[in-house]
């Protein structure tokens, strides 16, 4: 690496003579990509060609123990109380996601400025928790959530 002559060349000349290592890498990578696509598609194609097929109007119908299915799958209703918990989870997750790196280097000296930045960040995220608190997320009552 050290005895390789350093050419002070312009951009155009660099483009004309690309790094052979890069080209080899790209070649290998494209082979990997191609093999990946073939690996994914080959079973599907082979299945189409090699498997016997059954053709009738009922082959794709919904299985309901042999009965004819009625109604829509979307007609069933279910409570969505848990989505609030999902949102709260995201708040805490973002908290942890950014506090971990800071905690990792805190001893190495982030100073007062770093501490204040962290405090502002936590305060902003804490507002989301206060908002959810106000909305009654911590109360597990259907009425409290449905009458909002």
């Amino acid at each position: 690496m050290t005895d390789r002559p350093v050419h002070h060349t312009g951009y155009h000349q660099l483009a004309a003579q690309p790094d052979p290592e890069l080209v080899a890498d790209g070649f290998v990578l494209s082979i990997f990509l191609l093999l990946g696509i073939i690996f994914a598609l080959a079973p599907l194609v082979a299945c189409r060609l090699l498997a016997p097929r059954s053709r009738n109007p009922q082959i794709g119908t919904i299985y309901e123990c042999g009965m004819v299915a009625f109604g829509q799958a979307t007609s069933a209703r279910f409570g969505v109380f848990y989505y609030l918990y999902a949102l709260i989870f995201i708040v805490f997750e973002v908290d942890v996601l950014y506090l971990f790196p800071i905690a990792r280097i805190y001893r190495q000296g982030v100073g007062l400025a770093g501490f204040l930045e962290m405090l502002i960040f936590v305060c902003i995220l804490f507002m989301a928790i206060v908002y959810a608190w106000k909305k009654g997320v911590w109360i597990w009552e259907r009425e409290a959530l449905s009458l909002r």
Partner: protein
């Protein structure tokens, strides 16, 4: 190869087909589907004493999408007929049918003049590969039906024939 509405594969390799058939013959998955008293014998055949699993056929599937074999175990009535046909149609391509018991073969003891709604054999509705006579057939007879189906697939019997039963004259 299955029967009925099954179309053959687009590309056909003889040797590969033999390997596939060997695999299919040793993993015949029946549909969990019983109509009448023969189903009790079918359950018994799947149980530990007779153990259909020895022949790879004990994996009773709860959906026709995963099943290879439909065991019609019992009387097929006119009310049940569309359901049987629909279940058969919902099964994927290489599929076989075992008609178990006299009812599934010909209507059996229930085919009387006043029993207007008994179908005289499931073969009137869907193609049948193996018939198992008996009222009801013993579990060994169902095991033998699976062996016959394997024989039909691979044209080779892997398991020995059962010994002759000495009969009194």
């Amino acid at each position: 190869m299955g029967t009925g509405s099954t179309l053959p594969p687009v590309v056909h390799f003889g040797c590969l087909e033999q390997i596939f058939n060997l695999a299919r013959a040793n993993s015949l998955w029946p549909l969990t589907f019983g109509l009448a008293c023969c189903a009790i014998e079918m359950m018994s055949a799947a149980g530990p004493r007779f153990d259909l699993d020895r022949f790879g056929a004990g994996v009773f599937r709860a959906t026709p999408r995963q099943a290879d074999v439909m065991i019609v175990a019992g009387t097929v009535t006119a009310k049940m007929a569309p359901t049987v046909v629909r279940l058969y149609n919902q099964m994927p391509a290489p599929k076989w049918v075992i008609a178990m018991g006299n009812c599934a073969i010909s209507g059996g003891p229930f085919k009387l003049d006043f029993n207007y709604n008994v179908i005289e054999g499931v073969e009137r509705l869907i193609p049948v590969d193996v018939h198992v006579p008996g009222c009801p057939p013993r579990p060994e007879a169902l095991v033998e039906a699976f062996l016959k189906l394997e024989e039909k697939l691979t044209s080779d019997r892997r398991f020995p024939h059962p010994p002759e039963i000495p009969r009194r004259s």
